[in-house]
Amino acid sequence: MTKTIDKNFSMPKCFNERSKPSLYCPGCGQSIFLKHLGFIIDDLEIQGKTTLGIDIGCSLLAWNFFNFDIVQTHHGRSVPVAVGYKLSNKRRIVMSIMGDGGGYAIGLQSLLHAAFRNNPISVFVLNNTGYSMTGGQMAPTSIPGEITTTSPGGKDPKNSGKAFHGPELIKQISDNSAYIARASVSNPIMLQKMIKKTLENQIKNNSFSFLEVLTPCPTNWKTTASESFNFLSKMEKEFPIGEMTKNEK
């Protein structure tokens, strides 16, 4: 079958047009994020010197999304792989993309120590309050009362804890020069600005930069487009959006 997809029509220049339409579900928030990441990489003109580490989970579906180097890592280990890559090759711009399962559950210790050591990499954690590739099980980030396949009566904060706040935790141990923020797919202009700052902080300040992105998952939330964005606004109340700054100065 010959593909007639024209890249110039609306895609970022660094996209691999042969892998489109992508493997993501209809309405996936992760592909909205990846699109804006692509535009920022075009904007900063860093396509030739970028390396991206991806994790197990829905983030692995980005394995042929871009026309630059992408490394597939073990579950929760995309941060240490990115750190190692950066240590051996300081001129590269190294990013790591994970889901909330990889970032806050299995790979939390790697993430915390990368922040603690102030390794100069950019980490993006995409938070959709569940383990989506395996069928929408309850995750640490599920908000209290959320109905998932393993919490049919709604998440009970007494037994399962409240929602996990990643950037707030990382802020406590990170260096002063680190950039830590939370964005949401519901505001693409702000998202683009924050992605740009996350990458610029790695390039200019040579320090750790971290961005959590709230993304909808219509397949596992079982929502339509409007319901997805309603739930996203509910998530934004639980996870406040913005840049985290340290209190000193």
Binding site: K3, T4, I5, D6, F9, S10, M11, F15, K20, P21, S22, L23, Y24, C25, P26, G27, C28, G29, S31, I32, K35, C58, S132, M133, T134, G135, G136, P188, I189, P218, T219, N220, T224, A225, S226, S228, F229
Partner: protein, 275 residues
Amino acid sequence: MKNDLTKIVISGEGGQGIQTIAKVLAESFKDSGFYVSYIPQFGPEQRGAPSISFIQYSTKEIKYPRFYKADYLIVLRERAISATTTFINSKTKVILDSSTIRPNVIKQSENKKEAVPATKLAFDLFGKKNLNLIISGYLTKLFSLNEKAVWKIIKNQLQKKFSEKKDLEDNARNAFIYGYEFTSEKKNFSQPTFKTNKKIIISKNREREAFISPELCKGCGICIEKCPVGALKFGDEIGVYGNPIPEIDIDKCINCGNCFRFCPDCAIKVKKKSK
């Protein structure tokens, strides 16, 4: 009860309701006094990926749920064909959806093929979600199961959805009966009508022009939700996953760029006309 072991493969696209059909069939075989095994093919939970289920029923005990050649192969989407051709041998009876698949794509002799244009029927008569009910109705007749008993199982399966809307149940019942009474196409297959347009759809007026690519659009509806003036709505064109895709009313459009900003698949763009 002539054959000892009958092997069935049902395949289609994730989101079509393949596993629902398979569960209903397995339950009905069990209720008719057969031994049954049913397993789905496990993979990522993803819409649009091929979804396959394996069913066996027999008068004797079943030792192992997997098999390599099927007696019946049911294919509902072109995308699922490549994953299921290994199950065909000279005895396999192929049942396909002739409104989405060209019958000559499947390599099997003509008299072993049967077709039900289920997607077209569902779109025209009952709404696209009722595709799996038409197929379950048809399969009920094919395997000579008791129609009333099967409907009872379907009702149990879909209890939650039916309790929310009342007219849904009547519609589903009609779709099931229609499928049960449908005589399949043999040899004279209808042509597939559900094809994705390869060209980018351009609509323009004096000030701006809009581009929508059916080859990229998955029909999620985010642009329709995010349009501030309501210039977008679902139209007649079919997108890459067989869903309807939006069409734009270019005179209402104010060129705000929201649809382009929110589209996950880079399928829509509006720009000012350069003079």
